[in-house]
Symmetry: C2
Subunit: 102 residues, 2 copies
DNA sequence: TTGGTTTACGTTTATCGTAAATATC
DNA sequence: GATATTTACGATAAACGTAAACCAA
């Protein structure tokens, strides 16, 4: 279990979560300051890599499938962990022994 | 707080964890099937991005600094979360309604 | 000198935005 | 017809391995 694995890129997971939260590529793109095309590619790449259809394509946006909803919870966990890592690093960076509780 | 952030790439965090576990670039490279040069770049990139020195360079390998050790715990959390994400996806992939509890 | 790390170099691969095409309501 | 997604395309940037250089015990 100490083996390294080929995991989906963090950025794809982030994009997935953003799109799920905003309900459309357009809205998510506006929020992250990127283009809808990029997010579309991210979502498609992730779906292809996982072999799972995450969203149902609708005329006015993207809606999570059942599988997508299940994975969204895990995606949130991943991004949360990554954010804690970054936050801890900032603390080490400034030498702050601030109260970063895990 | 719902804002997207610029987080370190997952691969860099994975490499960091592998090097920390194996104690040297050479050993970690052998384990992951890559080259020491790549891992050296990954570690350096991560250190530069975080502004933290993760390892002390010794003649026979790399030893975690105090800051590195603190961050290693978080790195393990991130990779664990990513692994759970991937595992959940594999479950969804096969259409297994296995007991994946969220 | 031996085992390990780092840098240099060239090539391959991935990533992105703009803009055109497509689909849905 | 309007809004959203997707694909095409070209350009920019990132990633890797090999091999040489460097450093420490």
């Amino acid at each position: 279990m100490a083996r390294p694995q080929r995991l989906p890129k963090l950025q794809l997971i982030q994009s997935f979560a953003q799109v799920a939260e905003h309900g459309s590529l357009a809205a998510a793109a506006k929020a992250v300051g990127g283009s809808p095309a990029t997010l579309s590619r991210h979502v498609s790449s992730l779906e292809a890599e996982l072999g799972v259809t995450l969203f149902e394509r609708r005329g006015d946006g993207l809606a999570l499938t059942a599988s997508g909803a299940a994975l969204f919870a895990h995606a949130a966990d991943v991004t949360a962990a990554a954010n804690r890592f970054a936050a801890a690093a900032s603390g080490q960076d400034q030498g702050l022994d601030g109260t970063i509780r895990i």
